[in-house]
Symmetry: C2
Subunit: 339 residues, 2 copies
DNA sequence: ATGAAAGCGCTAACAA
DNA sequence: TTGTTAGCGCTTTCAT
């Protein structure tokens, strides 16, 4: 029995059917299937209902329930790039797990950064009576909020919007930068270079601030000549190799894992060994890369799963709306073998 | 005005409100907002309705509509690993785009391969009256279908199940292997090594079959000593380097991009240059890797986006249920610079 | 302890 | 051309 083309997918069994079989009213059925608190139901009736339910294979219609209760169990997630990056998947995953935990289900929509698609997506979610919307981007930056988002509860994930007043959940770039630098410091390095991205962003400024802060705490002077700008990719890291070597630093904190990957190449070409000749620290914890470079790259993780989860918690009002605006999620250091 | 904690997210405006304002009946409103085919509505009434709609900011309740029509616009996507791999995101993306195109929205659930979570997810989707379910895995293999899936239309994505009779959509591994090999052949190589995975799978057998088939078509003998087993990761490729070099092959088809990445390292350590000393072809087209290796890796793409899209098309009955069981989706070769 | 009945917001005959 | 009305499957007072 192939299952294509049926159309009628649901059991078709309604509460009324159950009531009939159990010989009770639908009200009674409703009470027992939902295990209502103040429900005074006779043991016998209750049993009969349960029997009827299993016998008939009854499955409540969640949509009807929503309609009558007026309150839905949907949470919308609109993302600008579900696929462009491995990261987006993590946000969905975290959001889905957390939503699930609270009896909600995730409605996802991808917009490819297209404003029209975005509005349409939001509309659609609104029409589906979502409890609220998680609006997420694939990299941490400031956005301008689509007007439509104001029509429902929404929380920004991995992005923020200045005057919007919308709650936001973002990675703690500064702490991440600090942790990365501290890891290098802890290994005894004193002359630590930093390959930073050339693109202005919270990541650029935050990680730099963290780097400086860690240096400071260690009693080291910040040496501007030790930070090198580079495009945030393999190419950038590769190209920066020369300057890094010249700088006579013994360790490098790379703006991200891709940069580190490029640096690995550059170092290898010069016959330099990691971590003996040069310790390197990444950022992002992009699994395909970090875990599989040789040697495996120590890095700092971007907490995408947590961002998604914290996002729904925030939406559901389960998280204390920490006074300060964008809520910071920690970027945990990941110890591997490049230090 | 912060948007947290409202609860009532939807406009609250119903069709009745619109009817009242427009001075017509709800039936009329229903007809004009849905632009019903056989709806003979006076221009005037129609105009008044539209005005009322915009004036009130009316937004139809999709759930109520579903309930009354008896047919929902949801498609469920249950995945065993949304996040474990960059690929899952692509499947979601493809499915979402295609669903959207036909007026459907995607309900996603992650199960982490946990059977209990899986059943729960399926139940939940059933309760939400999904039109059908896409059951997907993050790598192509045979599965045993959860019993619950039989209660609705379902199509298997990137996996298949022998006797289940369920429609499946999977990548065409053999064609992919053939294309990869042909690319190498086209560049003039005659002695082409193949690093295959050690894990039995459609990928293992399919890509090998494709490799042989391409060789054959080119009038070359299949030389068993030219296929090297390796773990399907960087490590495997790296380790295989020695044998590859010994084999005196001039080109290598790697089971996947990660293996190719390892091979790159091995080759570089030996001072061998790509593609001059050795041409290499990958498989998967894992962006972070393939596009950013040096030189960028030529490879064959796993059509995840297409798998998702084809999955919903199949579910909706829009795709000819090609006679043969698992429907094959092409793996297009991607030309870069390692050949 | 249980049932009758009035909705939830919308669609779809059927009347008018 | 437009309005009435009866549901869709469920929840929830309010009676009994």
């Amino acid at each position: 029995m192939t299952s294509t083309g049926h159309g009628r997918s649901t059991s078709g069994i309604t509460m009324r059917d159950v009531a009939k079989v159990a010989g009770v009213s639908v009200a009674t059925v409703s009470h027992v299937v939902n295990d209502k608190p103040g429900a005074r139901i006779g043991d016998d009736a209750r049993r009969r209902v349960h029997e009827a339910v299993t016998e008939l294979g009854y499955r409540p219609n969640a949509l009807a329930k929503t309609l009558s209760q007026g309150t839905s169990r949907f949470i919308g997630l609109v993302a600008d790039a579900i696929a462009t990056t491995p990261f987006a998947g993590q946000i969905i995953h975290g959001a889905q797990d957390e939503a699930w935990k609270h009896g909600y289900v995730l409605l996802v929509a991808n917009t490819d950064g297209n404003t029209a698609a975005e509005d349409e997506a939001i509309m659609m979610m609104l029409e589906h009576q979502v409890r609220g919307i998680l609006y997420s981007t694939w990299y941490h930056h400031e956005i301008t909020v689509p007007e439509a988002l104001h029509q429902t509860d929404t929380v920004l994930v991995d992005c923020f919007a200045g005057g919007s007043g919308l709650p936001a959940v973002v990675p703690d770039e500064e702490q991440g930068g600090r942790s990365a630098t501290e890891a290098l410091l802890a290994a005894g390095h004193r002359r630590i270079a930093f390959i930073n991205t050339t693109t202005p962003s919270p990541a650029q400024s935050g990680r730099l601030a963290g780097y400086r802060s860690a240096l400071e705490s260690a009693g080291l002077d910040f040496d501007e000549s030790l930070v090198f700008p580079a495009s945030p990719e393999q190419e950038g890291g590769y190209t920066a190799t020369a300057s890094i070597v010249d700088s006579r630093a013994t360790a490098v904190f790379c703006h991200n894992d891709r940069v580190a990957m490029g640096l690995y190449d550059g170092l290898r070409e010069r016959g330099l060994r990691i971590p003996d000749d040069m310790a390197v620290m990444g950022f992002d914890n992009q699994d395909v890369i970090a875990a599989h470079l040789r040697p495996p790259l120590s890095t700092v993780a971007l907490p995408h799963y947590e961002l998604g989860a914290a996002g729904v918690r925030r939406l559901l009002g389960l998280e204390t709306p920490s006074t300060t605006h964008p809520q910071l999620i920690a970027c945990p250091p990941i110890q591997r073998h490049s230090i």
